[in-house]
């Protein structure tokens, strides 16, 4: 276990350094983020106050909600699946899976470091941008702490998902179809644009049974005034799915090795 932890730290340190080395990329990613948030935030501002008041939300809270869900998305590894796909299609992965430590675990750790670096760099900018654009800081101290706790769990789930999607090319030739489904599921079922309370009750029930709530909606919820039980259940849900994601990654890693060994890729 100690060895695994050391490997996790070493890999994530490399991931962290990797992000720091590409300053233009991170600046570009913040500009895109800012543009999207300003665009959606502008649309939200067009919604009459009374319509939002029905749900007990203000414009500022809605802008913080979408700003936060988008922020979680931008700090994660949405496109990292391509690295894994590239490794398997080029054969580079052959060297990487023939090592004493799991390739999936090293990748996951590396991406975790990358996610952390993006959060460290972009968090102050996100905070200032959304505060300025919405006109107020709606996050309470508890909300702030809750967000800080839920972001690593969301990143964990996304990183596990990215590896599984990337390696799906061993079965489906390309990873893009799985990535497309995953991404759209995160947008829709993760309630990226609108808080879950806007969804019909049956849809809310479905979302609560899937990992997508823990990936985006739970983080965004900290900007809203929701009943305390929503946050508690959200956390429990997130922890369960985080554990399941790690378990799934471990299982999938074995399947990947067996698949490669079968020679049918």
């Amino acid at each position: 276990m100690r060895r695994k932890w050391e490997l996790f730290l070493a890999s994530s340190r490399m991931g962290f350094k990797n992000v720091l080395a590409d300053k233009i990329l991170i600046a570009g990613s913040f500009l895109i983020y800012a543009m999207i948030v300003i665009l959606y935030g502008g649309l939200i501002k067009l919604i009459p106050d009374a319509d939002l008041a029905v749900y007990g939300f203000s414009h500022a809270q809605m802008i913080w909600y979408i700003g936060t869900t988008e922020f979680i998305l931008f700090t994660s590894s949405s496109w990292s699946f391509k690295e894994v796909q590239g490794d398997f299609t080029s054969g580079e992965a052959h060297l990487r899976i023939l090592r004493p430590a799991s390739y999936a675990f090293v990748r996951f750790s590396f991406w975790s470091g990358e996610s952390l670096a993006r959060v460290v760099i972009l968090f102050p900018l996100y905070f200032i941008l959304i505060g300025w654009f919405s006109g107020e800081f709606v996050l309470s101290w508890i909300g702030f702490l809750g967000l800080l706790l839920s972001m690593p769990l969301a990143a964990l789930m996304m990183n596990c998902g990215a590896y599984i999607i990337g390696a799906s090319c061993l079965w489906f030739v390309q990873s893009e179809p799985a990535a497309w489904i995953w991404q759209k599921s995160i947008f829709l079922l993760g309630a990226m644009l609108w808080p879950l309370v806007f969804y019909p009750v049956w849809a809310q029930n479905i979302v609560w049974m899937l990992p997508f709530h823990g990936i985006l909606a739970h983080g965004g919820n900290w900007a809203l005034d929701l009943p305390m039980q929503t946050y508690v259940f959200g956390f429990i849900n997130q922890i369960i799915w985080a554990v399941l994601s790690l378990w799934g990654l471990r299982r999938f890693d074995r399947l990947v090795l067996r698949r490669v060994q079968s020679g049918e890729t």
């Binding site: 060895r3 050391e6 490997l7 070493a10 890999s11 490399m14 350094k17 990797n18 080395a21 080029s90 054969g91 580079e92 052959h94 060297l95 899976i97 023939l98 090592r99 004493p100 430590a101 799991s102 090293v106 090795l257 490669v260 060994q261 079968s262 020679g263 049918e264």
Partner: protein, 328 residues
Amino acid sequence: MAQSIIDVQGVTRTFKSYEKDASSKGWFSRKKSHLLTAVGDLDLVLQSGEKVAFIGPNGAGKSTTLKILSGLLRPTSGIAEVCGFVPWEQTRQLAAHIGLVFGQRSHLWPALSVENSFDLLAKIYGLEEKAYQEQRDKLIDVFGIEKLLPQLARTLSLGQRMRCDIAAALLHQPEVLFLDEPTIGLDVTAKALLRDHLNVLAREFETTILLTSHDADDVEKICHRVVLIDHGQKLLDTSLINLQRDFTHFKTLRIATEERDPVFVHEHVAMAERGEHRLVLKVDVTHIEMEKVVSLCLEKFKLLDIGIEDMPLEEIIKTIYARKACPL
């Protein structure tokens, strides 16, 4: 007596090959398939410290065998042990005992410096800090890569990357090193340098080497034993010296003469090249002794210089395959 470190018995690997059916009308029509044997009933034993070349034409089954022995492929039948592990069953355990160099693939992370890649590999292999530092320093010395350490792997030239890659494959001091086309794409100087490095490390670390290469020079300069395969079957398993002795049927004699236009005509001796004051003769040593040709030359010409070259290994290998194709 040396211990066997690789033991392969009756390993066979077949692949299903699907034929495109021109008459098929839809997605649901059944494709015709047939089995291709990449490796057939292969037996191979390597003793610890041996340096063995595994050679054959494209599609002979060299890489498939290497993949089976490293744990990347499961054979259809047969048994094998490498360092006491069954490669396809105990892949992760075996990984700590073997090193892999696949010519076109890299151990290094393109976005990281060579130094950082080495550090990360040390963690992946769970190396003790002191042992890692010692081994790393030795390898840096052997491969002359000190100046490359701070460079990002993606900025290295092919020759530089290969040296760093082999060093990376040896950080954990593997007992067996699998080299699959290690000099592919390298220029003549880089190839020579890499071969020298490999010889130094084989002496220094007593690593068992199993090499596949299309470059006969790799085989001659690195290995002591040669295993020839074709269509997945072993054709020959012998020492390099025996191979050269038993299959050499011509040698080249180069002479420089005082005579301006030397001419030499004799049965079983062909003039391969003629020039001013020089002559290159191809001697069929299966029919005439080289000593006899040399003495005839001494009688006929006033010699300024003389040189005898063995039949190139590439020619020997070609001969063996040609004999197999047309045994008569």
